[in-house]
Symmetry: C2
């Protein structure tokens, strides 16, 4: 029952030749006769021979595999980035190994350890919400493996990164709210040790300042990027009697929580409170009213990350200068934030 895997030695034996010839035949090596190649291939398919990746990659020192480490795959943004990575990877002959940190630092460390045990030739990552220090990523790099961060990137590390214009889009979307007559705009933020939330908050603040609107502490909801915390933040604003006429949420799920609370309490959106989100999750289009949000061009982000990483992998040895790319995002205007027309 224990079916032995077929090796090139098995093929060689049956063809009265040697493993090296079989190996070369399988690779379509120029110095092998046509009939021999034919014979080898025929037998290989007949016996369902499969090259052993483990042996191959040990021998060659690389395995054409790129690792992806994301907080969770069940977010449209991350799933989209992965898709983008896969298209480029496949086209370049790479395989992809996907890992999730589930927003946990300890899981992130564990996954990282697995990955660098020679499983991958490089890594594309976006850090978990809990990640403040990056020593684990540094020891990954210390092994000499290329690393590219996207979206949530640590700014302490000298490494290739690809992000979107969080600051600019946050600024712009805040001005959009102002243009729609909002003057008391609440910020539903995320942990500010993460670049994206820090930058989005900065864009928001600067837009208020530049428009001579006060930046009020009571309007700053510090941790409101999940459905639950968004709901709660909205509830607290209301029950504390804070006057506000808009919510700029740094993430769609925080905006969702706010909308669900509003729906429950029959608070009119956008009439009483205009709301915007961030990430353009698909539910934003479905919910009533549809949610204004920021599309982060995940596919493109994935594509470019993969291209950068593969380039680094293949230029291994030459010293590679980390690059930083900032993509332009796109604001998707929907009714949740538009009061006129």
């Amino acid at each position: 029952m224990t079916e032995k895997r077929i090796t090139i030695y098995d093929l060689a034996r049956q063809l009265n030749t040697t493993a090296s010839t079989v190996s070369r035949a399988l690779q379509d090596h120029p110095g092998i006769s046509k009939p021999m190649k034919e014979a080898v291939r025929k037998l290989a398919t007949k016996l369902n021979y499969q090259t052993n990746y483990r042996a191959l990659s040990l021998r060659k020192g690389f395995g054409n595999t790129i690792g992806i480490l994301v907080p969770q795959v069940n977010r449209n943004f991350f799933a989209t980035v992965i898709h983008g990575i896969e298209t480029i990877a496949a086209a370049s002959g790479y395989h992809v190994l996907i890992c999730q940190s589930f927003e946990s630092l300890s899981k992130e460390k564990i996954q990282l350890k697995n990955l660098l045990n020679g499983r991958v030739d490089g890594l594309i990552a976006s850090v978990s919400l809990e990640t403040k220090s990056c020593t684990h990523f540094e020891s990954f790099m210390a092994t000499g493996l290329p690393l590219v961060f996207f979206d949530r990137v640590p700014d302490t590390m000298d490494v290739s990164k690809i992000t979107i214009d969080d600051y600019a889009s946050a600024y712009k979307i805040t001005e959009h709210l102002i243009a729609n007559g909002c003057s008391r705009i609440a910020l539903f933020g995320g942990p500010e040790h993460i670049n994206i939330y820090r930058n989005r908050a900065a864009g928001y603040r600067d837009a208020l300042n530049d428009n001579k609107l006060p930046v009020s502490g009571e309007l700053h909801c510090v941790n409101a990027i999940t459905r639950e915390t968004g709901y709660q933040a909205m509830a607290e604003l209301v029950s504390n009697g804070v006057a506000f006429d808009a919510v700029f949420a740094a993430g769609d799920y925080g905006a969702l929580g706010a909308m669900l609370y509003a729906r429950e309490k029959r608070i009119d959106i956008p009439g009483a409170v205009a709301i915007t989100g961030y990430a353009n999750e698909p539910f934003g289009e479905i919910i009533d009213p549809p949610l204004t949000s920021v599309d982060q061009h995940g596919i493109e982000m994935g594509r470019q990350s993969a291209r950068m990483l593969i380039e680094e992998i293949e230029h291994k040895g030459e010293s590679y200068i980390p690059r930083e790319i900032v993509l332009r995002s796109e604001i998707i205007y929907r009714p949740s934030s538009q009061r006129n027309g």
Copy 2:
């Protein structure tokens, strides 16, 4: 710049000992002295030594890795199953390699080929919509690797499977619609070469028959499981003047399409048309009105798949009798299908 990976030979050299001693020390082998173990470990961490997975798994013949092949990770159901698998895998010392077929047969074949090149010790899979014949899975099995299917399983293969009670839940949900006064219930089905859609359709039909309701061809929308096709199916029913008062959708996305059409045309749900979905995607709770659907207990499905697979992997050699598990699903009743209270 080309940083050489540290090997056990490097450690051995620096400690004036041999690779085998280092290897044993690292594994906490009983026959190695305390001081030696200490010394080895200290140096290992100092030099950031990482065991080479490729060498290890080549040597041992297995790599404690289980592959997952799903249509797409960006579906709550699949993401949830993956999560379930990961919990069990991690607890049993296995890593997980995730692959997507993107509902394409050719991509499924390619991914499968990669996986069986000695990358994984077993596979958990759910087939793509395009998958009718399963020769590619059969040649996977021919290499002797264990395989477990979940949810979308091929019934031609003698292999372990885990599904939910599609027939029973479809029957029950159809009766629920009937109990709510619906008598002309449209079926938004999927390709019937896939077990789940075939079984859901059968449950629907039998429920109608048993309740003396006619099963009408014009109410059977053959391929309506995406948002787009669901929308279109609804539009066609209406424009063809078909009388109907409910939609039993075999998937949430088909139901979504129907609801979006209804919203556009101001068709009252559930008043004019009651709607039910299948899969309990999160948007079902958010959409207005919230969507009745079937929860498939993805976490549990993942856990059990992983347990079965790991058992098969570890009983390798002994002939293993494939098992089939059918999980009980749960109908989540929401307003989209309830006319009374």
